[in-house]
Symmetry: C2
Subunit: 205 residues, 2 copies
Amino acid sequence: MPDQRSTLRAQRRADTQRTIQAQAVRLFSERGYDATTVHHVAEAAGVSPMTVYRHFPTKEDLVLLDERGQLVAERIAAAPAAQPLVRRIGGALIESAATLTGGNHREFLLARLRLMISTPALRAKHLDNQYALQQVIVAAVGDDATDPDTAFRVQAAASACLAALHTAVVRWAEDDGRGELPELIATAFNAAFGDDFGSAHPKAR
Amino acid sequence: MPDQRSTLRAQRRADTQRTIQAQAVRLFSERGYDATTVHHVAEAAGVSPMTVYRHFPTKEDLVLLDERGQLVAERIAAAPAAQPLVRRIGGALIESAATLTGGNHREFLLARLRLMISTPALRAKHLDNQYALQQVIVAAVGDDATDPDTAFRVQAAASACLAALHTAVVRWAEDDGRGELPELIATAFNAAFGDDFGSAHPKAR
DNA sequence: CACCAACCTGGTAGTAACTATCACTGAGGT
DNA sequence: ACCTCAGTGATAGTTACTACCAGGTTGGTG
């Protein structure tokens, strides 16, 4: 009885997946995204091109795939607020950012962000992923989604929040991660929505 | 003496361009984007595949190409406001929307929007175009772009505005253009930024 | 221990979006 | 009436991606 469904298999699978992605990001960063073929990535990772496609449905996903979405949704649902929408969503995003940048993946994360920002194909698909995340957030907010007009307002608020977040993330990456991401996000929210967010370590107001 | 640089040539060129795009949108809508090849589009438009690529650099541009960007930028620059950023940008976006939906392209515009929303590849590239538009807007705002912190705030405000706009446009298209787009945009802005926008026909603040 | 089942992997085409290059035609100006 | 060159077309190539099929490894069962 496998406590974890075939542990060793999943282990090896996760390993090759990580190897492929690491090599992909390295090659893309060194030689450029367009100049690097999937075949090159496969070669560097020591697998066949077929295997790459088994793990990553598209070349873009070699850079973009991760699991941050689930995290954000949970935070949203966990904030059981009566606060205004943008504040509720914004708070959850700031907390999520703190968690993500706290990890030890920083350099890898930054490399991926740099690619995302500078490569049109990656930028486009990433923005579409954010759009999908928006739907997840809207679902997590959950406010009686029956009324289409209410749903529309939630969509508007969520989209604006994610846009501000994106702006902050871009700025953070352009600064090579020197600033504090949660602070930057708070600044972006203040610029967009007015001075309701204080800083990441909230003081007054 | 060409008052207009070789009038007939430009005329024919614009004609074929329009024909190609019209046939493309028609075929994509009828048979699906992925199921329609560029070759099909060329055949329907009575040209060779090469000619299609001459006029539209990518298949996605067959749906996405237009010139609305310039219009918005001009409106922004024309609004010489001391108003807050989001209000200034939002007002320009609402005016632009009124102009665009006032034209006689409505059915064509709606068809293109429906494709954009339902087709992942188009949605992604469209979002990236909006991101490019954001840079245009930021440039048009122009507020002493020297200070990086100020520039960052402008970016945040512009991105949030465009996100709200996008939400409204999606809603409008999903409603088959029955509502009034400027009103929808105003509603989206109110939901995201608070009740500062009144309706589309702004009188009092 | 032998066997089976389910993955994971690899190979071989095949499709379709582009790209580079060359040749042809016809419009615009001299 | 010539010359130039933008617009168009055909050919051949590259690359992302997709079936389809075959072999090998892992994990559990008689």
